[in-house]
Amino acid sequence: MKPLALLFALAGTAALADTTLLNVSYDPTRELYQDVNAAFAKAWKAKTGETVTINQSHGGSGKQARAVIDGLEADVATLALGYDVDALHQKGKLIPADWQKRLPNQSAPYTSTIVFVVRKGNPKQIHDWDDLLKPGVLVVTPNPKTSGGARWNYLAAWGSALRKNGGDEAKARDFVTQLYRQVPILDSGARGATTTFGQRNIGHVLLAWENEAFLLTQELGKDRFEIITPSVSILAEPPVTVVDRYADKHGTRKVAQAYLDFLYTPEGQAIVAKHHFRPRTGAQPERPQLFTIDEVFGGWTKAQQTHFADRGVFDQIYEGGK
């Protein structure tokens, strides 16, 4: 045990803090939680006098859930999908089944949606989903078989087509089939698609998370891209939870709980808005009209099985699209 402890001391910078939390999250939330962590640490110190340090781990949401189940001892998990958090209960017995009821808004303190990024001046005049099917428009979106973000893009397209066509499944299917015919490259991950669009200058429109779209324009140049919000899109509700088993083991349940509660405070919600996630409180913008997976697809598990399983709808239309 001693040598191991020494290794940690050598490798770690945070070992001296009074309390340490590990927040295992997904890829696009890094900057959000950096700010949240600093603000929370300050608030906690003011309230209790205790020093708390929050370590962050980011990666693909499914992969992160798997790591937590395999022993990455997260005190809190802040993932992309309820499906991934459910796995912590179903596969890892780390949290109770009713975890989603423990915090307001189904334990999702912020939301996000899928928007379009186009090149400056919007040369192809893309304003809504139908415009994506204009002749010659190339759409950049990653492969839904390998990328979580890509599934949201797919479901957003499907759901918006359903809305426009009064719930006609066949027309929605036609729309999505045509859409993927106009995808020149299926990158394996969201960040790869962003690079394809932003740095390799391929395609006319990129489907992306709203916060990613803002990050892209900030980092690669506001003068190069524009963000287009469609009239209808999907509502993503990334959930958060205390990982009971690890928090109890570390004796950090109280502070972990306070950390998640902080996200719902006005201060927390302001930070959420600053990073282009949508806060739960305050005025909500008119565009887009949002639908949830539960409403349109009967939940994530069902959507997954119908559309993305082997020989699911995506395999059928993409095979056909080739």
Partner: protein, 277 residues
């Protein structure tokens, strides 16, 4: 034979020069240009930005973790590699073929699989998971797991360099040393080690380069906790994905520089060997 080869195997000058030109162009495009572009990206906004990027706490932690990992796994694999090569070259025993194959195994399996092996062994739901949890020992998603995975992936380098040397040189000198009264350790340090030293250095350098550069296996067992369990290659990926190009290329070029330093050290050693001949 002279260094340029005999006349009999010479090609016409035109063929020779075009072959050389093609080789240089190929190396230039596939090695020099990408490496140069990494350096340009890193230093493009000045050495100050480069140094600042390396001083960033998470990056600095990644550099230290990488050095620590190499500092543990390289000596371990050096000792193991020499011992295994010694056993295989000198003795006949049951299971020798199996041992030889096992040494090569990490070369032949994907690093991702190598990482998963440790998850399956030491993960919470793995073979030793309950035992480790009961004693509150953390292996994967922590430094020990990273060291283990790195050690596993870099295991063959030293053994593979040293073994052929030992096999081709035979054991006459060792036997002579024994008859002159040397103990086992004296034989090893005074005779065997000097005989294999150049191969050993090559093996250690390759082992070190891979230990510092390994991505796949380490990525699986790291847990990606910032400032704690990210090594330099993982940090490069993270920085790149966060559009921090200067940071990413600064760490990348530091890794490249470390690799080049070891390569230059190897070249110098080889030159000193040539001079002594």
């Amino acid at each position: 034979m002279s260094a340029t080869g005999s006349d009999a195997i010479r090609e016409p000058a035109l063929v020779r020069y075009s072959a050389i030109a093609v080789a240089i162009a190929f190396l230039g495009l596939s090695v020099v240009v990408p490496l140069a572009s990494v350096l340009v990206q890193a230093f493009g906004q000045g050495a100050g930005r480069f140094l600042a990027a390396l001083r960033e706490p998470e990056t600095w932690a990644a550099i230290r973790l990488t050095l620590l990992t190499a500092a543990i796994s390289v000596p371990l694999n050096t000792a193991f590699g020499v011992a295994a090569a010694w056993l295989i070259a000198r003795y006949d025993f049951r299971g020798k073929g199996v041992l030889t194959t096992l040494i090569d195994l990490p070369f032949s399996i994907s690093p991702v699989i190598a990482g998963l092996i440790f998850v399956l062994l030491f993960g919470r739901q793995g073979l030793f998971g309950p035992l480790l949890e009961a004693h509150d020992v953390q292996i994967i998603f922590a430094v020990p797991g990273i060291v283990l995975a790195t050690t596993f992936v870099t295991l063959p380098f030293v053994a593979r360099e040293v073994l052929p040397l030992m096999q081709s040189q035979g054991s006459n000198e060792e036997e002579a040393a024994l008859t002159l009264g040397a103990s086992g350790w004296q034989v090893f340090f005074r005779v065997t080690l000097p005989k294999i030293r150049f191969g050993l250095v090559t093996g250690v350098i390759l082992c070190n380069a891979r230990a510092m550069g390994e991505f796949g296996a380490v990525s699986v067992v790291s847990g990606h906790v910032r400032g704690l369990t990210n090594t330099m290659p993982l940090q490069v990926e993270i920085l790149y994905n966060e559009y921090n190009l200067v940071g990413a290329f600064s760490v990348a070029s530091l890794l490249t520089l470390l690799a080049m330093v070891t390569l230059v050290a190897k070249k110098l050693l080889e030159r000193s060997k040539a001079v002594r001949r």
